[in-house]
Symmetry: C2
């Protein structure tokens, strides 16, 4: 097992990147990996929770845009990547029992069950290539860290047994580039779209920007405005609040990499 | 009961339009009614079919974009119109038993059940205002008839027990306005978005444009190109193919009118 460096991962194809991850040659966050291809959040639940969860996503499309849903017991996301396996192809997982985070394993092959359904949700990493091409710098990529994510006081619309607060990802942007960041990401509604909030973190319940609830803090330079996008970690906050008996997710920032191109998710 | 004329319906508010419909003062198609407000397709199924149907919509977002889902037994679409009742507020319904169209009543209050879930799906009538504002004429509005809809040979992605062909709506457009029609509607991904097919009806299995499967035929003038959009009647084709024991839909073109504005469904 040869551990890969970040630079080696950037230009891999999605299947090469998944293979490196499956071999545990890469166990870190996936921002910037297999550039140009879609990345996805993962939520796995028993089939008797599947309707509640799909409805939760339908009612909260900004944080929870659904890209693919697997058949019960089938670990293959046939729409996003028909050769992939969601049990082994993400760098790190989170296992929840009764809403409590119990483990963060590198694969979940040994705890897979025949009644599990996987949901792959759009991820803002997918529009970061478009931001960079549009001349909008992305701080956490510049710094080589995970994107900062925060729990907010914005309630999600409940669905069945599921409820919880919206989680957002944050990117600081210079004032003259805020409009461009908004219009560029608005064109990607299937991967969170435009920001849900711009400026004043306090008014959405974020008290300390230097201490994100998930991921890493990033530098916010003089005059920069924080832009907040709906985040696919939102279901993890809902799992903690709603306590289904068993659930598995990706570890924040450690995404599934699909075979479809970023550009397939753009309106234009 | 005073029957309304089409001209009187155009400028009503959504709640006024629904009240006229509830009183059976309007029993026709809804294109152009309560201009500026969202319209929606309706599918009602027993709750044990709800997951299959929501998954079918997730897998076929162009014809089946979900705008609201009611709670089992609750006839109120609380997101789209919290004062409305889906049992009485559409001008005409279709009742299916085992996939067979059995009745087309003006309301469904007497056959409502506690296990029914209503799904409201985006309708292309919602972007017709934007087309008109962009200078793209809409032929079926000009002619005062229902939009023509066709079954195609494009298969939907199946979900559980549900499968079937995509149904499309058609609007003929002059060559110099095709690009504008595409870009204008692409900005409304939640109400079908851009056309799924442009030109040659035969290649998507439409043999006779003068005989639509649903709605009315419209004139196609010399040089005009037919543009085909995913259509919310697609679930009706799936119900006929997949034969759930009981289902209710809107009659094609006879939509639910919500309180939200068309523009809320535009990316910009």
């Amino acid at each position: 097992m040869a551990v890969k460096k970040a630079g080696e991962m950037m230009d891999l194809s999605p299947s090469e990147a998944r293979e490196a991850i499956r071999r545990k040659e890469w166990t870190g966050p996936t921002a910037g990996i297999a550039r140009g291809f879609v990345q996805a959040n993962l939520v796995i639940l028993p089939v008797d929770w599947a309707f509640d969860f799909l409805l939760f996503c339908q009612r909260n499309p900004r944080p929870c845009p659904v890209l693919d849903v697997t058949e019960p017991g089938d670990p293959v996301p046939r729409f996003l990547a028909p050769e992939a396996d969601i049990r082994t192809d993400l760098p790190r997982y989170r296992v929840f029992r009764n809403g409590i985070l119990e483990d963060e394993p590198l694969d979940i092959a040994n705890i897979w069950r025949d009644d599990l359904v996987g949901f792959l949700l759009g991820c803002s990493f997918t529009f970061e290539g478009a931001l960079l091409e549009a001349g909008v710098p992305v701080r956490h990529i510049e710094m080589g860290v995970n994107v900062p994510m925060y729990k907010t006081n914005i309630p999600c619309r409940p669905a069945g047994r599921l409820s919880g607060p919206m989680v957002v990802s944050m990117r600081p942007v210079q004032p003259d580039l805020v409009s461009r960041a908004v219009t560029t990401t608005a064109l990607f509604p299937a991967v969170h779209g435009a920001p849900v909030h711009i400026g004043d973190p306090g008014s959405i319940g974020i008290s300390d920007m230097t201490r994100p609830d998930f991921g890493d803090p990033v530098d916010i330079r003089e005059g920069e405005i924080p832009l907040f996008w709906g985040c696919g970690v939102t279901p993890q906050a809902a799992l903690m609040a709603s306590k289904p008996p068993f659930a598995i997710t990706h570890a924040p920032g450690h995404m599934f990499i699909g075979d479809r191109k970023d550009k397939e998710y753009s309106v234009f």
